[in-house]
Amino acid sequence: MKTHDQHGRGRSRRPGRSRLLAAVGATALVLSAGLTTPPASAAPRAATVADARAAQGTAGAQDSAGSKGSKGSKVLTVAVAQSVDSLSPFLAVRLLSTSIHRLMYEYLTNYDPKDGHVIPGLATSWQSSPDKLTWTYTIRNNSRWSDGQQATAEDAAWTFRKMMTDQGAATANGSFVANFSEVSAPSPTRLVIRLKKPQATMTALDVPIVPKHVWEKVGDFSKFNNDKSFPIVGNGPFVLTAYKPDSYVRLRANTSFWRGAPKFDELVFRYYKDQDAAVAALRKGEVSFVAGSPSLTPAQAASLKGQKNIHVNDAPGRRFYALATNPGARARNGKKFGDGDPSLLDQRVRHALFMAVDRRTVVGKVFQGHAVEGQGYVPPRFATYFWKPSAGQELRYDPAGAARLLDEAGYRRNADGKRVGKDGKPLNYRLLCHATDPNDKAVGKYLQEWWGKLGIGVTVDCLDNVTDPWLAGKYDLAFDGWSVNPDPDFVLSIHTCGALPATPKDTGATDDFICDRTYDQLYARQLAEYDPAARAKVVKQMESRLYDLGYMNVMAYPNAVEAYRTDRIRSITTMPSAAGNIYGQDGYWSWWSAVPANSGDSSGGGTPSGVIIGIVAGVVVLVGLAGFLALRRRATADDRE
């Protein structure tokens, strides 16, 4: 799962608005054609269509009832700060969208909420052949699509085949199937995948399996956003019933879900652009859960901690927060582009820059303790793959050492105290920062001062849209961050040469244009290694290599700081269960397991006193104004004709 950061860090490769509009028209045509065609003959088929319509009707009724839902139905409302990029599992890359797909569709395998090891999902068991090239999955026979049809191995085979053959369907998860040679379903409960080369991620295929009978009618996968007919047919713990862009996503519990029905009847993700507004909504009880963007600020967490009926979940996160250095952007065809500062190609300069960054201060001051100091690439939460630099290798905070390194590299101070490059120009780097992320701006202020003391100028470029300069390679340094999955393959793959764009005009999967032969060899080795311990060893070597290269310097692992109302949610599963996050899990555990509190709707019901006070104040102001105007009229009566 390419889980981009909540606030769209990295890039989202979604179609532009005009393309979306075109797609809307096209899909509407396709769908209406599909609906008007009478079902061939099968009676059960007709019944399912009727079913779907009936369900649509109820969904509409619930819509009009508002978010509180109909009487007695238990609704879990989640405030999110991200909008949905696409509801199509073939296109969606944002954290919110991929989390919703977890709820809508079953994946072949899932991760245990306790420690993240692989457990059965749609597949009940799996095995690989001795030559490591053939994988056979047994598909469960007790999973049904929400329109009543059985979910079979053919659905899974069709999903994978579609991604292999249709470029548009490979947009989001194409990397998983790049190495597949053939996928077949010899029986409804058997799925066979043949590989070109061994692939260690076969039990971590984070690909939503979609119903073939619904999706084979779709025309252009690169444009279909799956948001035209509701409810959307799925087999996950929830069924998506309504969606309004930049407003809300509504899901209904799937009572026939094979693992058991969720305890809440309805789950609503409501979009709040302003985090303070979301926190206020939580205090008032308008929402039951707030997922920060990417987490609540220290001040918000501190003030919510003391509140009655509110629980703040502060746990190790699955993200890393890093400083990316432009290694000279280039494409697979060897063409160079962008305008990264050439001095950054010197490893000593990169190391010096990072040695001048006091990670302890970043964690202590900016995150105020709601983070862990950065080490290797993979956060410590994933203990199997977590790597720490050795004492000799570590780039410890050492401004004097950094200054020495720069002197060695030939960047000496001039009369003004500025470091000067070989061309006689003072070093001045552009630092690309997300205008929407307060942490970027705060850390930017520190970097400016730390590097300023080193004699290096920094221009902090805070943009709403960092994607354009980033993809064009027009940056020197940038704030970067990714959510890491239990299987780290994806976050490792984005630094291989193969992920570079094909030509400067294309968009590659690459994160920071890093291309290193040693790293690539290690990447290929870990992908072919089926023994978990041996694979972890190779992954750690890769992290070590990445650390030494100094293009991707991890400053911190931010915590997941989120809050929920205990008078609405009695219990909810975190992942890992000991101390973990709730929003954006690898799996559907949190929302599926959430138990409603039986205190009823008392806290949210009735007119809150604030509203009454507001109305009274408004009336007083109006009366005062009217009186003032009347007096004034009387006073100026003589002047008027």
Binding site: T297, A299, S303, K441, C462, D464
Partner: protein, 306 residues
């Protein structure tokens, strides 16, 4: 006026002019003094200007340093930090004082730019008339009906984030009212006989506009500038609050934006929000009061102050 000049012993024309100007300034001040609100605004302005000018001596530029911030994050007001601290542990009192420099500077520069554009277009349109005036006034109308904030946001978004951008964005969006006012005054001035006389004596366009029209519209321009400064300061704060200002510069609007991003609003950390907010309100009010007073002194038609 003439009584003054004839009473003094005859000297050079320059001395005469100087004396006349001194006299009119004194008269202006006498009348201005009668406006109590204007005096109050002036006092507030002088205080603010002093605080801003002496900031390098009183608080020093190191107040904006995050690496050697003296306090803990978001401390409430205490004996050590009178207005508490921000999320980095910097003293808010120091930041508000330091931020006044940027807010006042941007306000002044943007107002000067705006009034300069407005005066130029107003005088030329009023003087030349004809198709030139028609075109210029239609452009003015267009800017007049455009919502200022939307236009400024659009400008600030497409250009790089710096103080210059903010000044430009505010300057080029707030000039139309000035242009309209100045054009009206220009038309009134140009219809006076002495302009015709000047033209008959060979005064060219440039001479008439700079020597006769400009001095006569100057009082109006001055009053307009004072009024626009408060608009500009508010606009600067708005842009900074919307995150469109330069994030590395400390300004009042920027402080409000920082407070919002730090979650101070929902956490009830009022000391982060209230001081910059009050500072913006006080300065904007002070400029407005001064502007009103100046306006009523220079323009007797506005009638006696209520």
């Amino acid at each position: 006026m003439t009584a003054d000049t004839t009473a003094t012993p005859a000297t050079g024309p320059r001395t005469l002019a100087r004396q006349r100007r001194r006299a009119s300034v004194a008269r202006f001040w006498r009348q201005y003094r009668t406006h109590r609100a204007g005096l109050f605004g002036l006092a507030a302005l002088v205080l603010c200007a002093l605080a801003a000018l002496t900031a390098p001596l009183t608080v020093g530029s190191h107040v904006q340093s995050v690496t050697d911030a003296p306090g803990a994050p978001l401390e409430s007001p205490s004996g050590r930090f009178w207005l508490g601290t921000d999320q980095f542990g910097r003293s808010l009192l120091g930041l508000v004082v330091w931020g006044s420099r940027v807010s006042l500077l941007v306000g002044l520069l943007a107002a000067v730019l705006s009034v300069a554009i407005g005066a130029l277009i107003g005088i030329t349109a009023g003087h030349f008339g004809g198709w030139y005036a028609t075109v210029m006034m239609r452009i003015t109308d267009w800017f007049l009906v455009m919502p200022t904030l939307v236009l400024a946001i659009a400008l600030a978004t497409v250009m790089s984030r710096s103080l210059g951008t903010t000044v430009l964005a505010i300057g080029v969006t707030t000039w139309p009212t000035t242009a309209r006012l100045v054009r009206a005054q220009t038309l009134a001035v140009e219809s006076r006989p002495y302009i015709e006389r000047a033209k008959a004596l060979g005064g060219g366009h440039g001479h008439v506009m700079t020597r006769h029209v400009l001095p006569n519209v100057m009082p109006l321009v001055l009053a307009q500038t004072t009024l626009i400064i408060s608009t500009a300061i508010l606009a600067e704060a708005t842009l900074a609050f919307l995150g469109l200002g330069d994030p590395t510069v400390v300004s009042w609007g920027g402080l409000l934006q920082d407070a919002r991003e730090a979650g101070a609003v929902s956490s009830g950390d009022w000391w982060y929000l209230v001081p910059p907010g009050i500072a913006i309100a006080v300065v904007a009010l002070a400029f407005t009061l001064c502007g009103r007073a100046v306006e009523s002194v220079l323009n007797p038609r506005l009638g006696v102050p209520r």
